[in-house]
């Protein structure tokens, strides 16, 4: 039998122990909440600053005109940069998407072996490479060999950045198509390549498009590979073997100029770029992911979005 004294003793210890733990719990909760506030304030401040300062710079001329002479009263616009970014995105998708999708098909349909695992591993490593290394590589490979900066070199560099993302997202989306779909196709006597193209790819359509769009959003903001490959220019595009301007590159150049007008323009260009990137990201979230929550979760865990 427990005596009254023992019970009192026990209660004292219990209260002390629980009290201490509850206090610790509260303290940790406060610290965590503080972490969130400390981290979120600058992150949200970036968005607010870009939106307020950038919106002030916007005008039709700003979006369509070529940049004025440095430091002159006529600041001009960022037309060539917007055009250049769109051209670069298109060309790099032309190179990167087919190869990426085919590679993804390999990983998902034929990749359950040693070679498939090797490719998957190096693909993941390539996805996290510093993009400036890819820029230097393209410079040595193409610009030095050909002798001039070109749209092609820039597109090639960006296609390397987007390739691993397209490949991984394609693989993951294809894997989510039930194997019974494929078997149904085989049972009808359809050849393997037609099964992949007509049944598997159409079943994985939304995941595929999501992956491609996210990779496009990713390369839209890449600056480092472009520094080494397209040089930048203040004219509209002259040809695919000549230099070109791009939004991130223009932002970088504007940020190094000391004039008020270039600061305003820098905010404006950042605003246009961020709108492009966020529009793709938010659009993807709302349009494609409502149906295929599973693909989306998978991409999230991979860290692509």
């Amino acid at each position: 039998m427990i005596t009254v004294e023992q019970r009192a003793e026990f209660r004292k210890h219990f209260r002390y122990n629980v009290g201490r733990r509850l206090v610790l719990d509260k303290v940790v909760k406060c610290v965590v909440f503080l972490c969130v506030v400390v981290a979120v304030v600058p992150l949200v401040a970036i968005l607010i600053n870009v939106f307020t300062n950038g919106a002030a710079a916007l005008s039709w001329d700003f979006l369509t005109q070529i940049p004025g002479a440095v430091g002159s009263d006529e600041p001009g616009g960022i037309g060539p940069a917007i055009q250049g970014t769109i051209v670069l995105l298109g060309l790099s998708s032309l190179i990167g998407v087919p190869i990426g999708v085919m590679g993804g098909i390999f990983l998902s349909e034929y990749g359950n072996n040693r070679y498939g695992r090797t490719v998957r591993f190096f693909n993941d490593v390539l996805a996290e490479f510093p993009t400036i290394v890819i820029g230097v590589f393209t410079f040595v490979l193409i610009v030095l060999t050909v002798g001039n900066f070109s749209v092609w070199a820039g597109s090639f560099a960006l296609s390397i950045v987007m390739l691993p993302i397209v490949m991984r997202t394609t693989e993951e989306s294809l894997k989510l198509v039930p194997v019974t779909y494929r078997e149904a196709g085989y049972a009808l006597g359809i050849r393997r390549w037609r099964v992949v193209f007509t049944i598997v790819l159409s079943g994985a359509k939304s995941g595929l498009i999501t992956g491609i769009l996210l990779s496009v959003a990713r390369i839209a903001g890449e600056t480092a590979p472009l520094v080494f490959t397209i040089l930048g220019s203040s004219q509209f595009i002259q040809g695919l073997d000549g230099p070109i301007d791009a939004l991130p590159l223009r932002i970088w150049r504007l940020s190094s100029l000391p004039y008020d007008s270039s600061v305003t323009q820098g905010w404006g260009a950042a605003f246009v770029l961020i709108i492009m990137v966020l529009a793709i990201n938010i659009g993807v979230r709302y349009v494609f992911l409502q149906k295929k929550g599973k693909t989306f979760m998978k991409f999230k865990k991979m860290g692509v979005i």
Binding site: V36, L43, L126, E128, P130, I132, V136, L163, W193, V277
Partner: protein
């Protein structure tokens, strides 16, 4: 009975399709091999001329006839910069991840997670621009000047006149940049911990913190380490924001000593000096050599991260990263 043989008479298109797919996959390996080969041949000149002192030396002189290149200050700069950024961002990101996965009320959870994920998509040049035009003045007035007045030139790490464009600013902006990445991956890993683990701990009377420490953390430990190393890989290779903020010292002056002094990283010196070096010669070879060093660092970091993450996938299916 008719024997069904799917393989027999399989048309050539199936084979072609398979080989095209294999070719596309091989393209990735070819790119990586080509990166190694091109960076090595492109920088051969500087390795021949400088030898090992390219790694250990600190001279950086591109004047014709007195050319001399050493990458040691930039290697140190990269490590210090990424180290400070990681020291700031790891606790904050884990805090955010814990808040989002364990504590946040549902009303706050979705929008906050959304904002964090979208911020991971913001281009680095925008972070750089914001750091240069907005954040720099705040950090100069609120952090650097008080610290400098308090400790002054007696201390080494706070020496030098605060100017705003220095290692501290670059590191903090870098930390802000990688927080969304680490936080959103960590959150997913913590959410992947089965609820039965938490419920078992709750049943024993654990508080929220104890549940996190005893049930969630051990289960997701290696995944969190993987996420951290991925963040480190991004921090090491990050170019634009750092280039815009670090102050760009060269030569022996770029050795990181004071937080308030200008520095230089491997990535930022490439971006900065490229315009003058693009004509070729030893200067270009030196920059390509720096690219090779950065490549090796990033490669090693990523391989370690992926091996760790692969182990997580094997050990328990719940916590998946890749």
């Amino acid at each position: 009975m008719m024997a069904i043989n799917m393989k027999k008479g399989s048309p050539i298109t199936d084979k072609i399709f398979k080989y095209v797919a294999i070719g596309a996959a091989t393209y990735v390996l070819a790119i990586i091999i080509m990166i190694v080969v091109n960076l090595t041949t492109g920088s051969a000149q500087v390795w021949q001329q400088e030898g090992i002192s390219f790694l250990t030396g600190s001279d950086w002189n591109s004047v014709e006839g007195r050319e001399s290149y050493g990458a040691a200050p930039y290697i140190m700069g990269t490590l210090v910069n990424a180290g400070i950024a990681m020291a700031i961002s790891i606790p904050l990101s884990f805090g955010i991840a814990m808040f989002l996965s364990e504590l946040a009320p549902k009303l706050l959870k979705t929008p906050l997670a959304m904002v964090i994920e979208l911020l991971a998509a913001v281009p680095s040049v925008v972070y750089g621009l914001w750091g240069l035009l907005v954040f720099r003045t705040y950090i100069q007035d609120w952090i650097e000047v008080p610290l400098h007045n308090l400790f002054g030139d007696q201390s080494i790490i706070f020496a030098g006149t605060p100017f705003g464009l220095d290692i501290l600013t670059a590191s903090i902006v870098l930390a802000i940049m990688i927080i969304p990445t680490i936080a959103s991956i960590s959150k997913e890993i913590m959410l992947a911990v089965p609820n039965s683990q938490r419920e078992a701990a709750y049943m024993l009377g654990a508080t929220k913190w104890e549940v996190f420490r005893l049930a969630v953390l051990p289960y997701s430990k290696s995944g969190l380490i993987g996420a951290t190393i991925l963040g480190l890989g991004r921090a090491v290779g990050e170019t634009m924001a750092v280039t815009m903020l670090i102050g760009n010292a060269t030569g022996a002056a770029a050795f990181p000593s004071s937080l308030f002094g200008p520095g230089q990283t491997l990535a930022s010196i490439m971006a900065n000096e490229f315009a003058e070096a693009s004509q070729g010669g030893l200067h270009l070879a030196a920059l390509v050599g720096i690219g090779l060093i950065l490549f090796i660092m990033a490669f090693a970091i990523n391989v370690v991260a992926h091996l760790l993450v692969a182990r997580v996938v094997k050990s328990h299916e719940g916590a998946v990263l890749a």
